[in-house]
């Protein structure tokens, strides 16, 4: 620590030197930034410029350097100096390209550049080089929970890539739901005929693969640890418990079919009304012959009712579409037509949805004479002569069709384990002594799939409609439990082909996770990151905000109820750092100080100069790139803003806001990703947390005697380059209207 040596390098290339006074910037770095070495170079990112820096590191013992050139997102390879701490002052995308040309703007442009140099120097002084979290032994084995098509696909993908894999299957055989099917829909051209499921082949491959170990009739009794060091206790039928040490987990626990007994209005529970699974059983029993009903009568006419108990807006049944059932009904109608073309097969659909190449399959069924009717079924009566009453939506009339058999296309219900919201509420009640809650907790625990020992609950969080977690919009494989990946219909409704593709992806994610864990690095989306949060527990008040707010369940509690960080589970978002009211959590290269010192480094003009200063805290995943891209497109914005990239809006600690306002900034703009149900936040909850925290900042503002408009939070997508510039200019205009901050000069 003693021998820190700070250096600043200012690039005058890319036109920077033509527009900015580089000599003045150098002086700032020297005098205010207190950099021991300050150099400028006309082309810093070329071999010569980089060599200049390398030489200083080697010969001058530079340990910390600030590169004042382009954005930190540019020239990352040229400016990669892994042995020293590096900060970047964004003169090109952040100043040169976004501030209007012309002498009128020379002064404010130069001031902006000088501030960025001050900030870069201040930041690097607070940084240390992350050491990583290399562990002696880290397991690269992969656990697959569920032995159906998804699970087997994931296991084979991982094992074929050379990773030892352990499969845990609840039932006595591999194959899952596919075992119940006579055939599956076709996956390859000409997409015309039902195909064998292939489950038997896969089962054989999995059973004989040298790298795959299968536990049948087994469930997970307990899963403890973190990526690279999960300890799974596997309860076997005999009562014995096997232990497996694994590095990552693929949860492929599939689905159950929606119970048709819940659909009495559609004949659920009545004779000769079956669901698709029921029809598969009949078709299997027929074994290529005529399909017969339970009463032995040969089926001569059959009606398929699509969307049975699905896409239901009333809130009683499934609100979603299960995606596979149209193609499945097409396939099942073919079972009849292929055996006997004279069987009348009618499919009543609302919208026939056949993803992938299903349209060809649909056509093939039409060729075979399957009748498709756009309609909405109202009432189905079973019995010897079944009747489906429906509204024909093309002919616009109420009508009916009679048949020997009615098949209801019901949906997929995910087997995702415990709903964590329910769990947390129950646990909280149980802890305060509620007896029924205690009993409920035991019951809930029994339905858990993973039985994680995480403080946040025994399973992965659930997404909409009870499906296992997924970063649905941007990174569908990601869950909020690092190293645990959901695949197949447990994640969203899907057919077998999609499930297999999904499982392959999940296997690859699991491989990444074990490799990253072994290298002591973070997982997605900061997979290169060696830093991890450290807490000064002496200062911790045990408020538990970090534990609760960490979107990834990375923080447990130790025996003394202090937060216990599991680095391998941590994604390095900094949400815990933003949450901590006493600011004891920090990363080596990102902390309350690295950002706080930048905020304080900015030169705040006094009120008579009439130059507002607005702080922008921009999420580095979307908002900061959008700002850069505004520059690349030469979209201009006000020179009164100073932008600091943050890992996630969730990492924004309110101290930064109050510090900024106290030291005379006129406004603070926070830019993060979309929050809410359709979030795009890379860290899922970070942006939402930030919005929530800022909604509470009103009191603080009031105490300071400031208007609520002085803090603004915006949702910005990576494509919003033109919009960010507009938002900035609008905000500057708004600040000018309410007037400059009265706090100037007190900071």
């Amino acid at each position: 620590m003693a021998d820190n040596k700070f250096a600043a390098y200012i690039c005058s290339g890319c036109g920077i030197g033509d527009v900015l006074n580089v000599g003045a910037l150098e002086k700032i770095a020297q005098k205010e930034g207190k950099m021991a070495i300050v150099k400028n170079h006309p082309f810093l990112c070329n071999a010569e410029g980089v060599q200049l820096i390398k030489d200083d590191i080697a010969n001058e013992g530079v340990t910390h350097l600030c590169i004042a050139a382009c954005s930190r997102r540019a020239k990352a390879e040229a400016f990669s100096f892994p042995t020293v701490a590096v900060s970047r002052a964004n003169l090109r995308e952040g100043v040169l390209w976004v501030i209007a040309e012309g002498a009128d703007h020379d002064e404010v442009r130069q001031e902006m550049a000088e501030d960025y140099v001050r900030m870069g120097c201040a930041e690097v002084k607070k940084m240390t080089l992350p050491g990583g979290n290399l562990k002696e032994s880290s397991s690269k084995r992969i656990l697959v929970v569920g032995g159906g098509m998804s699970g087997m696909t994931a296991a084979l993908a991982a094992a074929d890539a050379g990773y030892e894999t352990v499969v845990v299957e609840k039932s006595g055989e591999l194959g899952g739901f596919a075992n119940k099917l006579l055939k599956r829909v076709p996956f390859s051209g000409p997409y015309a005929e039902p195909q064998p499921t292939g489950a038997a082949n896969m089962t054989a491959r999995v059973s004989h693969h040298p790298l795959i170990k299968v536990h049948l009739n087994s469930t997970l009794a307990e899963t403890a640890g973190a990526p690279g060091r999960f300890n799974a206790k596997i309860a076997q039928e005999s009562g014995a418990v096997a232990e497996e040490l694994v590095g990552a987990i693929v949860q492929a626990t599939g689905f159950t079919t929606y119970d048709i007994a819940k659909l009495p209005e559609l004949g659920g529970g009545q004779a000769n009304v079956v669901d698709q699974a029921g029809l598969e059983a009949m078709a299997k029993a027929a074994n290529g012959g005529a399909i017969k009903r339970a009463d032995g009568k040969e089926v001569k006419s059959v009606v398929f009712v699509q969307c049975a108990g699905q896409r239901d807006a009333s809130g009683v049944h499934l609100p979603y579409c299960s995606g596979h059932c149209c193609a499945t009904s097409i396939k099942q109608a073919m079972y009849f037509k292929d055996q006997n073309p004279d069987v009348d097969t009618v499919v009543i659909y609302q919208d026939l949805r056949v993803p992938g190449m299903g349209e060809d399959f649909y056509r093939s069924a039409q060729q075979k004479g399957v009748i498709f009717t756009k309609g909405k079924a109202g009432r189905v009566t079973g019995g010897d002569n079944c009747k489906v009453e429906f509204r024909d939506l093309i002919l616009d009339e109420d009508t009916s069709a009679e048949a020997d058999l009615v098949v209801l296309a019901t949906g997929q219900v995910p087997s995702a384990g415990v709903n964590l919201d329910d769990w947390t509420a129950t646990v909280t009640a149980a802890e305060s002594g509620d007896e029924t809650a205690k009993a409920k907790k035991i019951e809930l625990q029994k339905t858990s799939v993973l039985n994680l020992t995480y403080r946040q609950g025994p399973d992965v969080p659930q997404f909409k409609y009870g499906f296992a977690d997924s970063h649905f919009i941007c990174f569908p494989y990601e869950t909020r439990r690092t190293g645990i990946y959901a695949a197949g219909p447990v994640r969203r409704p899907m057919d077998m082909l999609q499930a297999q593709e999904d499982a392959t992806g999940a296997a690859l994610k699991a491989i990444q996770a074990v490799e990253n864990a072994a290298r002591g690095r973070a997982a997605h989306p900061r997979a290169w990151d060696l830093s991890f949060p450290k807490a000064r527990l002496e200062g911790c008040t045990q408020c538990k905000r970090c534990t609760v707010e960490c979107p990834f369940g990375a923080i447990d509690e130790d025996e003394k109820r202090f937060p216990l960080f599991n680095e391998e589970r941590c994604r390095r978002c900094g949400t815990c750092m933003g949450a901590c009211p006493v600011r004891v959590i920090s990363f080596e290269n990102y902390s309350c100080d690295t950002v706080g010192s930048q905020i304080k480094a900015v030169n705040i003009p006094d009120e008579f100069e009439e130059k507002p200063r607005i702080l922008i805290l921009a999420c580095e995943n979307d908002a900061y790139p959008a700002l850069d891209m505004a520059g690349i497109q030469r979209i201009t914005y006000s020179a009164y803003v100073r932008a600091i990239p943050v890992r996630c809006l969730g990492s924004v600690n309110t101290i930064w806001i109050t510090d900024a306002l106290n030291s005379g900034y006129d406004g603070v703009m926070m830019m993060g990703c979309k929050k809410g149900d359709d979030y795009q936040c890379h860290f899922v909850k970070g942006s939402e947390m930030a919005h929530y925290r800022m909604s509470k900042i009103g009191d603080t503002l009031k105490q300071l005697g400031l208007e609520p408009e002085r803090v603004q939070t915006q949702e910005v997508a990576i494509t919003d380059n033109a919009r960010v510039a507009r938002l900035i200019d609008e905000y500057v205009a708004q600040i000018n209207e309410i007037g400059l901050s009265p706090m100037k000069g007190f900071g």
Binding site: R363, G369, K374, D392
Partner: protein, 206 residues
């Protein structure tokens, strides 16, 4: 096949669809319609008739035999081919429309007094007589198809046009007596009879 006329048809069973497939030109395409409605939206006659091609095809599948064959919609088709060009399922819709019209006509289920049907009949009878269309007789037959009084009125209304055609030598008044014919009328008649026989046999209408 005429017995089918009396058939009580079960709804949403294949019976009528199969009848159409067997007897209507390009009728085997009807099952391939995916009910997208593009034809209905493309047809310039759309607002003027009761059943769009889309609806007719659904009605066939729903077993509405009387309504389909009694519909005047397929008679309204102008053969603009908009629908054929646009149908994503490549149904030869125009041809099916004509096929349906023809089949309904043959079964005599087509609407009586439907103008297109009447004109088509007049045209065909005129043509089949001499092997050539006698334009003068055809026009007169059309004028007078709704009776003598109406015929005179029609003729008066078209007087100027008629005189113009005469002057320009586009109309020969002598055509009224016999008019010119094909050389081998009996050969033509035999040919038509044979064609009809083949078609009837193919459609089971013999």
């Amino acid at each position: 096949m005429t017995t089918a006329n009396q058939n009580a048809l079960a709804k949403y069973k294949n019976n009528f669809l199969k009848e159409v497939e067997a007897n209507v030109e390009d009728g085997h395409w009807v099952k391939m319609c995916m009910q997208c409605g593009v034809c209905a939206g493309s047809c310039p006659l759309g607002p003027h008739w009761e059943h769009s091609p889309q609806k007719l095809f659904m009605m066939i599948r729903a077993g509405k035999r009387e309504e389909v064959l009694g519909s005047d919609s397929m008679w309204m088709c102008t053969s603009c081919y908009n629908c054929i060009v646009r149908c994503p399922r490549k149904l030869p819709i125009t041809h099916i429309m004509h096929g349906l019209a023809n089949y309904a006509h043959r079964l005599d289920l087509a609407p009586k007094g439907q103008p297109t049907r009447d004109i088509a009949k007049l045209f065909w009878d005129n043509l089949a007589k001499t092997g050539r269309v006698n334009e003068l007789k055809f026009s007169l037959a059309m004028y007078f198809k709704d009776g003598f009084g109406q015929g005179v009125k029609n003729a008066m209304a078209m007087q100027a046009t008629g005189l113009g055609l005469l002057k320009a030598k586009r109309l020969n008044p002598m055509e009224i007596i016999g008019g010119h014919k094909c050389k081998d009328i009996s050969g033509i008649k035999k040919m038509i009879a044979k064609a009809r026989e083949i078609e009837d046999r193919r459609r089971g209408l013999a």
